[in-house]
């Protein structure tokens, strides 16, 4: 378990992270979602003993990061946001050296693991190419592969799929999930909604160095004000029987402009057939139905007051 207790990091006069309190459970995949400059990287680097918290405390499996940095480092593997690889080395050597430093694996076991991850991300043929000659995406994969091959008990990925093409992103997510299934606790920082939503079990929304919300993506969406909106187009000139919908407790409000009716719901998916049935039975002619779901983006907008795109 990792715990942040009122952790803070001040650079000069800037509070990059402030009063940050959060517990990360063993073997979960936690997404840290936040806009640029929110403090995600700073949080991870404090946990990884690179930056020293200027206030509060952080502990990893009960070990305080300031008092026992050496023990904490043995538990953690970090894949950096922008690849931190020795440019003059090829991918194989980068990964092999990383495993030499972080594991007790023998020469052959290391070679095996490195080959396994490099083949998986389709970089085996390019294993000798100097990393500074690689494309941005290739280099990023090598960075992610460090942690995938290391299999640390706490795996940190800072924007693991930035620069990756679509198939590679899906693959990387799969590999990160597998890493968790093998026993690692995974923390993923991202500013991409789909990544946070599809990869993590819990999402922590960070804004201006502060934790503003933490829950599963579903819960976050369901507790967001406004909920889902059912948009109905009814036959022209029809009077819409609003009172009929009042019997559903999930319905919060109904508005009508000409023949477009908007029904505001807390949770619409299950209710949709019932509503349509009730209305049809009453003889209301429905031309079209559209359920607008709450996206994580709405949640984000709600908590941070800013859109990511």
């Amino acid at each position: 378990m990792i715990s942040f207790e009122k952790a803070g990091k001040r650079f000069g006069t800037l509070d990059a992270v402030k009063d940050f309190t959060l517990e990360i459970r063993d073997q979960e995949i936690l997404g840290l979602l936040g806009p640029n400059g929110a403090g995600k990287t700073t949080l991870m680097l404090m946990m990884g003993t690179v930056y020293r918290p200027t206030s509060g405390a952080i502990s990893v499996n009960g070990l305080d990061v300031v008092k026992h940095p050496n023990d904490v480092r043995k538990l953690i593997g970090i894949a950096f946001q922008d690849p931190r690889v020795d440019g003059i080395l090829g991918a194989f050597d980068v990964l092999n050296w990383h495993l030499k430093m972080t594991t007790t694996l023998g020469k052959e076991e290391r070679a095996e693991r490195v080959e396994q991850v490099l083949r998986a991300v389709d970089l085996w043929d390019a294993r000798k190419k100097r990393t500074w000659l690689m494309s941005g995406g290739m280099r990023k994969k090598v960075e992610d592969c460090k942690v995938l091959a290391q299999r640390p008990s706490i795996a940190v990925f800072d924007e693991p799929t930035a620069f990756l093409d679509v198939p590679s992103r899906l693959l990387m997510w799969k590999m990160i999930r597998e890493l968790r299934d093998q026993g690692s606790t995974v923390i993923v920082a991202t500013n991409m909604m789909d990544e946070a939503e599809r990869l993590s079990e819990r999402v922590a929304i960070v804004n201006r160095g502060k934790l503003v919300a933490i829950d599963s993506p579903e819960k976050l969406k369901s507790t967001t004000k406004g909920g889902e909106v059912l948009e109905l187009t009814v036959g022209v000139g029809q009077q819409f029987p609003r009172e009929l919908l009042a019997e559903f407790s999930e319905v919060q409000d109904v508005t009508q402009t000409e023949n477009k009716v908007s029904v505001y719901l807390t949770s619409g998916r299950l209710l949709l057939p019932k509503i349509v049935e009730t209305l049809t039975n009453r003889g209301v002619k429905i031309d079209s139905v559209h359920l607008k779901e709450v996206t994580l983006e709405d949640v984000f907008l709600n908590y941070t007051g800013q859109s990511l795109d």
């Binding site: 990884g48 020293r52 972080t102 694996l105 026993g183 690692s184």
Partner: protein, 267 residues
């Protein structure tokens, strides 16, 4: 995903037992290997050294009225060269900080002390490898054959390399602005090697450097090396000075500065 009682399965790497000396050595090896990636540097530097020694030294020895000056200058050149080369590691580490590679290295399960000792060791061994050709040239020219003297001289040179490397690393993690760092290190290099009696005897140095020159680590090293090779004697006082220099910059550098060390140039 709930309880904290879930054990991390055996498939995650066992990391607790990576040996300390192994990690220090890996850090050192990394720096040593960079030398072999660019072997032409050693070759071209050795050539330059030979040219300087023959052309410049023969010319100068005519001007400096000092018996045995060529021998003195040849030995001193090797010592000064060790010091200059040992400063390079600081530039390497500074560059790593700028590129962010230092952040990565600092997340590895290496204590800050192991880190600085490993890097200083790597830098020192690297300097020693680098000057081997020059040392051999001088030994052949001056017919240094006594094995005990040669071993003593090599040890003295290694101590100097180790200490200067430590000094250079300490500077690299203390001075955080690129411009200031370049200037600081260049000045230190100049001060430590030129304000010393490595190349010219104290009596031939300009008056204003004479009071300080005897205390330069390069002076300690060149005196001990010269005494070992030429006089086949042990200069205990200067050896003590050299050891003190190493102790200050390796031990103090490692414990004081590295406790503060964070990654990132502006951290």
């Amino acid at each position: 995903m709930s309880s904290s009682t879930i054990q991390v399965k055996a498939s995650t790497s066992p990391v607790g037992q990576v040996s300390t000396s192994g990690l220090v050595w890996q850090m050192a090896r990394r720096d040593i290997l960079t030398l072999f990636r660019t072997p032409w540097i050693i070759i071209s530097r050795s050539m330059a050294f030979i040219i300087q020694l023959f052309v410049f030294a023969y010319f100068i020895s005519g001007l400096v009225n000092y018996p045995g000056f060529f021998e003195y200058y040849a030995v001193g050149s090797v010592v000064a060269m060790v010091a200059s080369i040992s400063f390079i590691i600081g530039y390497d580490i500074f560059e790593e900080a700028e590129e962010g590679l230092l952040d990565y290295l600092l997340t590895l399960p290496v204590s800050r002390r192991q880190f600085i000792i490993g890097r200083a060791l790597g830098g020192a061994v690297r300097s020693m490898i680098y000057i081997i050709p020059m040392f051999i040239i001088v030994a052949l020219l001056e017919k240094f054959v006594n094995p005990v003297s040669i071993i003593a001289a090599v040890l003295d040179l290694f101590l100097l390399a180790f200490g200067v490397t430590g000094l250079s690393i300490t500077m690299a993690v203390t001075v955080r602005s690129a411009n200031r760092f370049d200037v600081t290190l260049a000045l230190l290099d100049l001060a430590v090697t030129r304000v010393s009696t490595a190349l010219y005897p104290l009596t031939k140095l300009p008056l204003y450097v004479r009071p300080i020159a005897p205390y330069s680590p390069v002076t300690f090293a060149s005196t001990t090396v010269y005494d070992a090779l030429v006089l086949t004697s042990l200069n205990a006082a200067d050896l003590a000075g050299l050891i003190a220099f190493v102790a200050v910059f390796i031990v103090l550098g490692a414990t004081i500065y590295f406790r503060r060390l964070e990654g990132g140039v502006y951290a």
